[in-house]
Amino acid sequence: MIRIEKLHKSYPIGKDSLHVLKGIDLHIKEGEFVSIMGSSGSGKSTLLNIVGLLDVHDEGNYYLNGQLIKDLNEKKAAILRNKFLGFVFQSFNLISYKTALENVALPLYYKGMNRKERLKVALEYLDQVGLKDWANHLPNELSGGQKQRVAIARALVTKPKVVLADEPTGALDSTTTDSVMDLLKDINDQGMTVFVITHEEEVAEQTKRIVRLKDGVITSDELTKAAKAV
């Protein structure tokens, strides 16, 4: 599903450039539940941005769903994002003046679905994350865990191939962290590829594969107990 070969990325900082990713090789198959671990500055967010087509790499090859990602213009990237990827962010990134339901329905709007139909679909997904009763509430009326569940519903609503989660539990307490992780597990159990970035060991433990990143290179890549238990 995701294949990365010798990926390099550097950011210009003044006259110098900061080499963030120094030759990453990573292959994630369909249906995997992978976490990327690493301290801040290890390059894990950069990796996610590149995988999520939010940023472009300098060198190496990136195949998404078998398609080589190269020289994408903004429009193509937007379409691919909409089609293949679902995003979950640390800070939820819900649009504050839209209700939970409208937030979930937004990706479908960009897909070109009509309003009636997309609200119906969005409501199904809200139901799936257990927030059907909160459909018409604005984000600021929801708790952190609820917001993140709305965000997950939004990531799922387009039936993406891959769900990309950037520190999905970073802003949550331990109880809600567990409920969010349970949700991600359920999603994975339904066969969706889930790609989580975290620096929390407990979160990573709940995934099936941990890739550790340090200073722009992969230091370890192993299956977790959870995966072995299955």
Binding site: N49, G52, L54, D55, E74, K75, A78, I79, R81, N82, K83, F87, F89, S91, N93, L94, I95, S96, Y97, K98, E102, L106, P107, Y109, Y110, K111, N114, R115, R154, T158
Partner: protein, 414 residues
């Protein structure tokens, strides 16, 4: 163009406009003010124009008055300072020589006399006139009629008096028509009463009697005090004024260069001055109005630019969710156009409302400063379309700014 009729597009715009109430209001006020000023200024200019037209009112505006003074240059054996009078021969000569140019020519003789009716009396101007005077300056008759040809031919002792004279000489509710008043101890039958005329009044409170009667009663022979000449439309009244004076000079053996011998007053020249002033006003109005409008549109662009900055994150989210740059651009331009349109419509409505207020408060009555202040619909339409076009163009700038920010950078902003 399909997106224009998509309820979802408007849903999105409604959402973002509602979200940013303050900036929406401020933006709208900016443009509203611009088009409001344009409408009100144009209306006021029109009102002023109408006001001037009303002042000239019923008076034939391409008219010239001619009278005699004393000569200034000795000529053909006459000394300088000679007094002379216009006479009926001059009238006939002018009428024949300028038959194709003169529309009306009224010769007039005037004097002051005591008027008596029963026990009431007053001293007023008495004017010997031809019926044509009513055509040069329309008399606003309240009762009866003006002097007619019959009166002239029969030397009838009839008179037309002003409303004020009627009030002074007659009892309240007394019907003046058919009654007699004494002018200089001769009885005249009142055949008409006229009210204040609209616009310029030549004579003030005057009793009109037939020219022929005047001539006989006051024994003026063929002398004429002065005359009013109205030119045909499109005749250059200034040119005609000097031509006529030249003709008169030769008839009266006055030196052609003599500037004092004939006095004249040309309404056309005065009107030209007013018209020039009005044109200047109109130009100023357009200039100020359009400049304000442009300032308003720039304000919209400016505020949208700020909002785009504010909404960078939201735009980043939208793009992460699959919004193409085109859809983002469309939304922002449409927001701009929508705001300018709404603001424009409100401005026009408010402007119209203010013009209505002006019209009902100071736009009516005899001394109205602004008469019927209105703006033509096509002008408003053009201004409105220009506004929308400018709104679109100015929306392009923030729309472009919104799309050059990479989604990753937009999302990174906390």
């Amino acid at each position: 163009m399909k997106f224009l009729f998509d309820s979802d597009t408007w849903q999105e715009i409604y959402g973002s406009i509602r979200k940013n109430k303050i900036r929406t209001v401020i933006t709208i006020i900016g443009v509203l003010w611009g088009i409001f000023l344009l409408v009100v200024l144009l209306g006021a200019a029109r009102g002023m124009d109408n006001g001037f037209k009303k002042i000239f009112g019923d008076f034939a505006t391409n008219s010239v008055f001619v009278w005699t003074q004393r000569t200034d240059i000795p000529f053909k054996g006459f000394q300088k300072g000679r007094r002379f009078r216009l006479n009926m021969n001059d009238i006939d000569a002018l009428k024949s020589e300028y038959s194709d140019k003169i529309k009306f020519l009224a010769s007039r003789n005037q004097t002051n006399n005591l008027l008596v009716h029963d026990f009431k009396s007053g001293s007023f101007q008495v004017s010997g006139d031809y019926p044509v005077l009513d055509k040069i300056q329309k008399k606003n008759l309240i009762y009866g009629r003006f002097i007619n040809e019959n009166d002239i031919n029969s030397l009838a002792k009839v008179t037309v008096i002003s409303e004020d004279i009627y009030k002074q000489l007659f009892d309240k509710d007394e019907m003046p028509i058919g009654q007699y008043i004494k002018i200089n101890n001769i009885n005249y039958k009142v055949v008409g009463v006229y009210g204040p005329s609209k616009g310029i009044d030549l004579d003030g409170d005057t009793v009109y009697i037939p020219f022929s009667t005047f001539r006989k009663v006051y024994n003026t022979a063929n002398k004429v005090d002065w005359m009013v000449i109205t030119a045909n439309p499109k005749i250059d009244i200034v040119q005609m004024e000097s031509d006529i004076k030249l003709t008169l000079k030769s008839l009266h053996k006055v030196h052609p260069e003599d500037k004092r011998a004939f006095g004249s007053f040309n309404l056309g020249t005065q009107i030209d001055k007013f018209t020039g002033f009005l044109t200047g006003m109109q130009f100023l109005t357009w200039f100020v109005g359009i400049a304000t409008l442009i300032a308003g549109v720039f304000a919209i662009g400016n505020i949208l630019l700020i909002t785009v900055k504010e909404r960078t994150k939201e735009i980043g989210i939208r793009r992460a969710l699959g919004a193409t740059p085109k859809s983002i651009r469309q939304q922002i331009i449409l927001e701009s156009v929508f705001l300018t349109t709404v603001a424009g419509m409100l401005g026009i409505v408010f402007g119209g409302f203010v013009l209505y207020i002006i019209d009902t408060t100071i736009g009516q009555g005899e001394d109205a400063a602004l008469v019927n202040p209105t703006v033509n619909i096509p002008i408003i339409f053009i201004a409105f379309v220009t506004l929308i076009v400018l709104g679109t163009l100015i929306g392009l700038i923030p729309a472009h700014m919104a799309t050059i920010v990479k989604p990753i950078e937009a999302l990174r902003e906390e």
